[in-house]
Assembly symmetry: C2
Homo-oligomer: 494 residues x 2
């Protein structure tokens, strides 16, 4: 393990290798024997559970209920919404048979050709089709609306180039699917949920995000409008971290879901869907971590405070541990998660490095001299600063410090983003900033898909979003020179 710690690649040398090393060595995830599918290891999953809990509470506070819909979707369902099939049904896992049998020609088992399905089943890449086919039976009248369901589930998209958390064939996510009486109510829901995502990203993950509309090119397949939260990673690339779609009446029409409105007339139902996934783990890791390992915001850290006794012999260990256990139980009573690491066969220097790698926000160390002096050594993961302070008042100090670290990590990311956000007015400048500095670029755009495509093919940058708080400003498109009313947000992205 000591060897492994040393071999974390430098972020500045090879960002992508640094990320992979970190995910593996911090015990977050690893590749599995199945191409493109990952194993989420206990420490990684513990962070995901904290994310789930916080999001789930926010969904429930906004009136949503959880439900569960089938993993499999009949192939024909995808063809019902024209743009949806183009966007999703192509790269997917297809179940064609339901039985294996002993290999008549030798060892092992083979697919039984007699057990072919009449209609193939698709492992869900997203669940709009199966859910709207279900909602059809739930909705008769405006009194049955709104339906505000969320599902926590696994989904599969057959990605050719995968990266742990960021792009995997199977991933975990939540997908909200809501049904409404009016266009306006559905639009409000779309906005409400992207707002929930923004609060979660900023207040829990400590990742500042820009909220905006996707351009037509980047919109969800089947949506009238897609709202997104866009985060900036430390290598200057953007990461789309959550989306909320206004689906209009597209799926209601595709699955013939009508309701009797307040005037007694039949009308198609209005829909939204919204989701975040284990991709957020990638955002969390890439937004804050450094060459020593993970940096976790306290609100999502499975261990918030680690305590390491420094000692020689049983007696010293006993007295230091007693003091630590006392502090630990006071902290636990306040809801702080604590680990006392008194493992005897591992040197404390190694433990320090291990918890740095794992991003534990606060580390305490205490030895015989501290016991004599009534002091304790406290180290912050975010700044790597350490100091020796009195044991008196340590509990209050830690509780305050956890908040301070949460704020500091967010503010650091906010400063980084401000520094890496550039207004440009010419295409030459656009390309230069992208190559030299990276980050977000605010530039005028003529509003056409053609221009967006051209810019993408020449620079690999795309429109991340049209920010919802964009200020109207007369200008000309950096690419075409045509008139533009506002700047949009460009970046290279994951």
């Amino acid at each position: 393990m000591a060897k492994e710690l040393k071999s974390l690649t430098n972020r500045e040398d090879n960002y992508s290798q640094w990320y992979n090393d970190l995910v593996m060595k911090a015990g977050l995830a690893e590749n599995s024997a199945v191409r493109g599918c990952m194993v989420i290891k206990p420490y990684g999953y513990a962070i995901w559970e904290k994310m789930q809990r916080a999001l789930d509470d926010m969904f429930k506070e906004t009136g949503h209920e959880n439900a569960y819909f089938p993993l499999f979707i009949p192939k024909s369902f995808f063809s019902k919404e024209a743009s949806h099939v183009e966007g999703f049904a192509k790269e997917c896992a297809v179940v064609t048979h339901y039985r294996l049998k002993n290999n008549p020609d030798g060892e092992g088992v083979v697919v039984d050709p007699d057990a072919k399905l009449e209609e193939e089943l698709i492992v869900r890449p997203t669940s709009e089709t199966i859910i709207w086919n279900t909602y059809k039976n739930w909705i008769k009248s405006y009194r049955d609306l709104p339906i505000l369901c969320n599902q926590w589930a696994n989904v599969v998209r057959w990605e050719m180039r995968t990266r742990l958390f960021l792009r995997t064939a199977e991933f975990l996510w939540q997908e909200g699917h809501t049904a409404h009486e009016t266009r306006q109510e559905a639009i409000e829901e779309t906005e409400r949920m992207v707002g929930v995502y923004k609060v979660f990203a900023e207040q829990w993950m400590a990742v500042p995000v820009i909220v905006g509309h996707k351009s037509a090119n980047e919109r969800f397949a089947g949506a009238e409008d897609t709202l997104t939260i866009e985060a900036l990673m430390q290598d200057g690339k953007a990461l789309q971290s959550g989306t909320s779609h206004f689906l209009g009446q597209n799926f209601a029409k595709a699955f013939d879901v009508q309701f009797a409105n307040r005037d007694g007339k039949l009308e198609h139902v209005w829909a939204t869907s919204w989701g975040v996934s284990t991709r957020l783990m990638g955002a969390l890791i890439m937004a804050h971590s450094d060459n020593n390992g993970l940096v976790l915001p306290p609100k999502l850290a499975p261990i918030q405070v680690v305590m390491i006794p420094i000692y020689k012999g049983e007696e010293e260990l006993k007295s230091v541990s007693e003091r630590f256990n006392n502090i630990a139980s006071q902290l636990k009573a306040l809801g702080v998660s604590v680990k006392v690491d008194a493992r005897d066969h591992i040197r404390s220097g190694f433990k320090f490095a291990e918890y740095e790698l794992k991003g534990v926000p606060i580390r305490l160390a205490m030895g015989p001299r501290d016991m004599t002096n009534g002091t304790i050594e406290i180290a912050r993961r975010d700044t790597l600063q350490k100091e020796t302070i009195p044991q008196d008042g340590i509990v209050e100090h830690i509780v305050k410090l956890l908040d301070e670290i949460q704020d500091n990590i967010f503010n650091k990311a906010l400063d980084f983003r401000a520094e890496k956000t550039t207004k440009v007015d010419t295409f030459a400048e656009f390309k230069q900033v992208l190559d030299d500095k990276g980050g977000f670029i605010l530039a005028h755009w003529d509003g056409t898909s053609e221009t967006e495509e051209q810019i993408k093919s020449e620079t690999k940058a795309t429109i991340r979003c049209i920010p919802i708080d964009a200020v109207e400003e007369d200008g000309v498109c950096v690419y075409s020179g045509k008139p533009s009313k506002m700047r949009v947000l460009f970046a290279r992205s994951y």
Copy 2:
């Protein structure tokens, strides 16, 4: 909806139809468009979430961590453990392709024959194989042990005859997979987890269970020993509600997982696995419910107390609601989940029936006369008793009553089981009790698979378990007349 309420089939007329009606009409689950796959509706999922939370807390208290392993398992993995492939790989969903394309001959999409997988993937029916293939890389020395992982996941078994919750092609479950240094430690883990299941079944679900060993015939495919909790349903049939397997070194040998032990020698790792599923929902429903609908134990009820104002006009509604909201906020502060149903377009009689159907443990009703008299009507779902009591002290009364209802539901089920458990000493008596009375039968058995098979084919009853607390007692096998040392538990089962 009023019509639907009326049409709940009588339990005594057709138990199986009563069950199906109840699951659908109480809003727990329904069949989906995909054969054998169910939709778990919000009210049903809310109960499952409460189960998950309670179990997850108990798993963590016993030192387990959650993780996540791939949905897909390469076909060849199943062939590595001989009895496992016989038990599981046969009836399963097989992914053979990873792409669809537009139909060249017409409408819709078809499977792209060019996108055939080199090796087919099986949608996991259980995860021993993929997990032990992963553990291989996690375990080098005894210092890496134990590994105590649990996974909450969906699994698929291609069942031909399905029933909501009890037997579905896709179901939700948790599967614990642990790795140990010694045989003894693994056996203790197997016992510890079946013990957790027993506590959960009895203290949360209010369902008494018998813990015991499965006979060789009924053992998990790949296990050396399977422990089970067996519950008795109201129709006299048994329901296997959770199992915990001692896997010996079978999977470690199949996947070559060895560790350096304390003597520095290589040894195969010892394993357990254990799981409960959404089948528990079936047990919960069938153990307690009646012809009015669900009866939920308070600890698992999404709504523990429902409050229904009785009123004419705005003013009466306002004064009753104010009083209800006051009681509700006091209850919420004590962790009681409460719903005030002031819907105006629905008659209160209808509301009473609806919450009875949904199994809400306590119903309060209050009208203008109660406001004058300082009284309130309180009804218990378990006994269907109602009484009018003073509003003073109502909060304390409810908190106490919830505990009382939890205990009463459990004791009722316990009494039912005692009444339906019969010791028999001859095969004639065995068959007669099965047909006339049903329930659990305690009988001597000669310990052979042949006898068990014969009894099963003649009576459809199987050995549910060899109870762990069975008392040694000399006797003769009811079927073969051969000597036997203890009685085992027989029943017809789901």
